[in-house]
């Protein structure tokens, strides 16, 4: 794939600095380099997506934002604070939430307890209200309230992972492949929920996806990652129409 590097677009909402800014980040696993100098911005109120093939380094970037693994070079700032060297739990307490790769629902805790875990960082303020919101968003979770996380189906676990992340009332929500392994109907439901949260509540979302079609349709802006490097960026619709993106990520895909 040829490289077409575009300048990072100006912020859509909110003047001044981006909410999340990643500059020249390099991450290693032992001696193996996984991110080879990534630059990326997420502005307040945006949905930004990062697409790329399996193993491109998308999930590594998500975890690097949380300092686990830690970036060996470069700088990550959130709302003006340098978070590059902050302990993981302190990064979370700045109200960045993540629904991580593999969902990581607590298997031996009930659905309700998993939601409680999500609310731990805001000391359970608005807890009951937020639980009701999550049940309105994902009615399925209400039916499963007393069930252990490990016994849920994949789709239910995905909903729970997203709901748990939202319980913190995050300023920035990181979603790692929310569509992985799910039926198309549930994927649509989850993406609708994300769109609604963004429109109604102005939630800023950074979404990592292999399902490029849905992700680019949903996002205001997108980035394409290949082998640990951002190779393209642009508006969601713009990337969706791009012949290279179409050839690499959409042809033969589902849409």
């Amino acid at each position: 794939m040829s490289v077409r590097v575009t300048e990072a677009p100006a912020p859509v909402v909110g003047a001044g600095q981006p909410l999340l800014s990643v500059r020249g980040v390099k991450t290693y696993y032992g001696n193996i380099i996984a991110l080879k100098g990534v630059d990326l911005d997420v502005n307040q109120g945006e949905i930004v997506t990062l697409i790329g093939a399996n193993g491109a380094g998308k999930s590594t970037l998500m975890m690097t934002i949380f300092g686990s693994p830690r970036a060996r070079e470069g700088r990550i700032t959130f709302a003006g604070t340098d978070i590059t060297q902050l302990p993981t739990h302190e990064i979370a307490r700045l109200r960045i939430s993540q629904s991580p790769e593999g969902r990581r629902v607590f298997p031996r805790m009930t659905v309700y307890e998993n939601l409680q875990m999500g609310a731990a960082i805001n000391d359970f303020a608005h807890f009951d209200e937020d639980v009701e919101r999550m049940f309105a968003l994902f009615p399925r979770l209400k039916e499963r309230i007393g069930q252990r996380g490990g016994t849920l189906s994949g789709g239910e676990q995905q909903m729970l992972a997203i709901a748990r992340a939202l319980m913190a009332r995050p300023k920035l929500l990181l979603l790692d492949e929310p569509s992985l392994g799910l039926a198309p109907l549930i994927v649509k439901q989850i993406f609708d929920a994300i769109r609604e949260l963004n429109r109604k509540e102005g939630l800023t979302v950074f979404l990592v996806e292999q399902n490029a079609y849905h992700a680019l349709k949903l996002a205001h802006r997108g980035y394409v990652m290949v082998n640990g490097v951002i190779t393209m960026s642009g508006g969601g619709r713009e990337l969706l129409a791009d012949p290279q993106v179409r050839a690499a990520y959409l042809e033969g895909g589902h849409h």
Partner: protein, 304 residues
């Protein structure tokens, strides 16, 4: 029949003490996957702290027995907790992220250090405690065939039961307990949710030590003496109890503790008292061979 009932009472008393210690093993194993070999010695240190506190409170302050006992329990739990907090900070935390055996070896070193430290400070002989709670209830039988329940046995069982209830509530219903269980199930995810994992591990060591301190008080009260080497055998038996119950399982630790206590006392009554430790430790071998996950342990499979 009388012998059986008497040994049942004795076994449950002893088992309560083992159960309290076993919780410390199982909790630490659950959260950081390490067998804390120094835990038995923390129990012994708890016994010595209790002894010193008993002496101070009753001799100097002249407090009555029951308030003294409560005071000793509370102060002993706090001080032993502080000990274990320091141990974790000094000997285990710097090795986190190192290879798996490193903290284990460090724990063995800490075990040797603690027993030697107490030997140096307190001397090698048995330290006696004047009997605190005397008197018995004759449950049944007459003459030589009686079943006797001592007041101190009642105190041990009641205190253990109350403590376990509080502990269970703490783990199941409070944010702290939830954070602990979260760290046990997925430490990385817990950190992503803003849980300070290191702090949670420290608290786990403090709680484990507090329960061991109570066991130390009970042991001291039951046998009337404590010795620098007393951490080893009860410690290993409590570890056996944790394995038998299923390591990582809290109810398993209590059930395992009671079972080991019963096996030991029954063996002493019906076979020979000389081999009671052999009986208890054979259980460890048999459990590991035939039931590696213990009674309430879970096999290592999870739906993905």
């Amino acid at each position: 029949m009388e012998v059986f009932l008497q040994q049942l009472i004795n076994g449950l008393t002893l088992g309560s003490i083992y159960g309290l210690i076993a919780i410390g093993y199982t909790m630490v194993f659950g959260i950081i996957g390490m067998v804390n070999f120094a835990h038995g010695d923390v129990f012994m240190v708890g016994g010595f702290i209790a002894l010193i506190l008993f002496m101070l409170i009753t001799a100097w302050l002249g407090v009555a027995v029951i308030p003294a006992l409560i005071l000793v329990l509370v102060c002993g739990m706090a001080l032993t907790g502080l000990w274990n907090w320091t141990i974790e900070r000094v000997a285990y935390r710097p090795l986190r992220g190192s290879f798996r055996l490193a903290p284990l070896i460090s724990a063995i070193g800490m075990s040797i250090f603690l027993s030697n430290l107490v030997q140096v400070i307190q001397g090698p002989r048995n330290k006696p405690l004047p009997p605190m709670i005397q008197g018995t209830i004759t449950v049944m039988g007459e003459g030589s065939n009686t079943v006797v329940l001592a007041y101190k046995q009642i105190v041990i069982m009641v205190v253990t039961a109350l403590l376990l209830a509080v502990f269970w509530w703490l783990v199941q219903k409070t944010p702290l307990g939830r954070a602990q269980r979260a760290c046990e199930q997925d430490r990385k995810m817990a950190a992503l949710l803003g849980i300070d994992v290191d702090r949670t591990i420290s608290i786990t060591f403090v709680i484990g030590a507090a329960l061991a301190a109570v066991a130390g008080v009970m042991y001291l009260m039951y046998y009337g003496v404590v010795n620098f080497a007393d951490g080893f055998v009860p410690g290993v038996k409590a570890f056996t109890a944790a394995v038998l119950g299923g390591i990582g399982s809290l109810p398993g630790a209590v059930i395992g503790g009671l079972l080991i206590g019963l096996i030991e006392t029954m063996w002493s009554a019906y076979f020979t008292i000389d081999y009671k430790d052999v009986a208890a430790f054979s259980i460890l071998a048999i459990t590991l061979i035939f039931l590696p996950t213990g009674i309430l342990g879970r096999p290592e499979v999870e739906k993905v």
